[in-house]
Symmetry: C2
Subunit: 136 residues, 2 copies
């Protein structure tokens, strides 16, 4: 199968739902529920990638010993709960490098030369490409 450049597969940043490090968990929960995504990137005010946040991370943070501590949604921030250690791709990385990461991650964030968030590569886009190659 021909290896396409990542830019051909990437969902550009302006189409990617995200939250800010400083948002409260309640806002993040609303973004995830309304978009229907189970996880989205977390950016800072300079549009640099800081991590990712998922429904599970939020639920984990508010699940107390005796009950679900819903008030924590208003007091805790995204940056206290997000996953900071995440794989990153550069716009010029190879398809094979992206594929390797997508084995364990539903999506991977892509950065450009200046270190800004450029978009995401998703499993769906890779699978669509492989599906096409099965019929060529």
């Amino acid at each position: 199968m021909q290896q396409p450049p990542l830019i051909d597969l990437m969902i550009p940043s302006d189409k990617v739902a995200h939250v800010q490090v400083g948002n409260h968990l309640e806002h993040a929960l609303l973004v995830l529920t309304r978009t229907g995504y189970s996880a989205v990137p977390v950016l800072d005010m300079t549009y640099k990638l800081q991590g990712l946040i998922s429904m599970t991370m939020i639920m984990d943070a508010i699940l107390g010993i005796e009950r679900i501590e819903f008030e924590r949604l208003e007091t805790m921030k995204v940056e206290q709960v997000m996953q900071r250690n995440i794989p990153r791709l550069h716009v010029n990385d190879s398809f094979l490098k992206a594929l390797k990461l997508l084995i364990d991650h539903p999506f991977v964030c892509v950065e450009n030369d200046a270190g800004y968030f450029a978009g995401i590569i998703t499993r769906r886009e890779i699978l669509k490409r492989f599906n096409r190659s099965m019929y060529e």
Copy 2:
């Protein structure tokens, strides 16, 4: 790439986290949060596949107009909220049929001849197989 039989890729039912149609949403939320899965199959008491439930479906159900109505977690049941219309594969279906479905679904449930839940095919397993083929 060689097309493997689905049984080679399938995660067998005894390894698949699931919930029951009659469980309350609170139980489903705990299963999802503890396993870390964003969605799992829903079975009935005869071990037949009835649908799937996700974090988002649960959150959607309890997100009221003014506030998050957490009490609904104890009053509502999985069967009121789950997605019933889901793709299904048979153990003897082709790899290509599974691939096509996995473009739009992170996992697809597999049924056996007797119509019982046999396991799931995940995007991760398909991507691992494609990754291997890129180096053969």
